[in-house]
Assembly symmetry: C2
Homo-oligomer: 241 residues x 2
């Protein structure tokens, strides 16, 4: 499978160094490392960025600064403007999921661009983009901050990546059917001895209900052995009464 390069994250006129750091942290969690800053308000480097990056220092150290968005995207072939607001710009609007798929399918380098904390991207920024990415959000409460928008896009992109493979946890497999059958027979034998199946006319239905419940449990061989022990122990207790 052809692998497109990871998207570049571009923050346009970011205000607080802390938010640049948080964005870097959000990126690195999901394997994105290339950060570009367009005209950051307080210059660059910014002493507030490091502490907020929580260890994503490499992303900050490698960040590059540009005077204009056009320069920042000069080497990019697909540019996605992230915005939650409609701006009268008629471009296709993608979900983060659809954008991630487009990035993976792309033959070139993609960029996700994010606007300033309060004002977002302006119309000229958006005009440079090929498409718009909007996180679908509660219509009555839309309050995503910059780092949250970055993390959601990075997270969706990471789904196509090796690093995002599900963790390996060794699970005991469910026991084979014969072991379940043995347990059911054991239980039914003891229940029968205890006079559980009464009236006899309902025995078939009761057995079916019992089998359904035990089948659903999906017990492992170890759990089956424990259940045999429990059935046996309950039988002993009944005898003592």
């Amino acid at each position: 499978m052809k692998t497109a390069p990871p998207p570049v994250i571009i923050l346009v006129r970011p205000q607080l160094g802390e938010n640049i750091g948080k964005a870097a942290r959000a990126m690195l969690n999901f394997g994105l490392t290339e950060l570009r800053l367009v005209s950051p308000r307080d210059g660059w480097p910014n002493p507030d960025a490091g502490p907020a990056a929580a260890g994503a220092d490499r992303v900050l150290a490698d960040a590059t600064v540009f005077a204009t968005l056009a320069e920042a995207v000069a080497d990019c072939t697909h540019i996605y403007a992230t915005t939650v607001r409609k701006r009268g710009v008629t471009k296709p609007v993608l979900t983060p999921e659809a954008a991630a798929q487009a990035v993976h399918a792309s033959a070139g380098r993609s960029a996700y661009i994010f606007g300033a904390e309060r004002s977002g991207l302006d119309s000229d920024d958006v005009a440079l983009a090929h498409q718009i990415v909007t996180v679908p959000i509660n219509r009555e409460f839309g309050s995503l901050n910059l780092a949250q928008a970055v993390i959601l896009l990075a997270y969706e992109w990471s789904k196509g990546q090796d690093l995002a493979s599900p963790p390996d946890v060794p699970l005991d497999p469910p026991a084979a059917h014969a072991e379940l059958e043995e347990l059911i027979q054991h239980l039914v034998r003891d229940l029968d001895t205890a006079g559980y199946f009464f009236p006899a006319a309902r025995t078939t239905a009761t057995l079916r209900t019992l089998r359904t419940a035990l089948t659903k449990a999906g017990w492992t061989s170890n759990e089956m052995r424990m259940m045999h022990g429990i059935v046996t122990a309950l039988g002993r207790k009944a005898k003592k009464r």
Copy 2:
């Protein structure tokens, strides 16, 4: 389609009120409103929660407090423990995506449980859960905070919801093929007049390349009209030379 109730978000022994507020904000962005707190360190209500909630006050006002996790999940049928670390607990591990699908498919009420900021969920908490949810993350840099974990799970859940439908942006449709054909003919006529097609033997290939490029653009009727104007204007300019 049957709709399962939205999952309950349960924070187990959360430490900072600020993080409870951020979790509430993350929830409401994606339409989750039911927050439960198990033994919050600094009691409840907590004055630091409100400012961090950025307007998600309703979620905080409706939050309920429990002494134990068992009480907090008493009415839940499916319990998902969120953890990034493996804990030797052998339970199925789901991605946020798979967990969201399971929540939507469920006949009962689901709960996502989150541990304290630093320590996470302990083994007894996880033992109450049916399944584990782990956000697949950069193996070399895993640094998700509580609110980020909440927002990712809430975001995945929201994909099944109406509120998460893609925004409507009125897009002009691409022009019908006949309009493209007219533009190509116009352009070819003027190019021919200008002696562009030389040598004649390559004309067919050149026309094919031109047609491919113009077809790809997907222009609207308005854009087609603009292009006619541009072609005409360029022709006028050439005549003046």
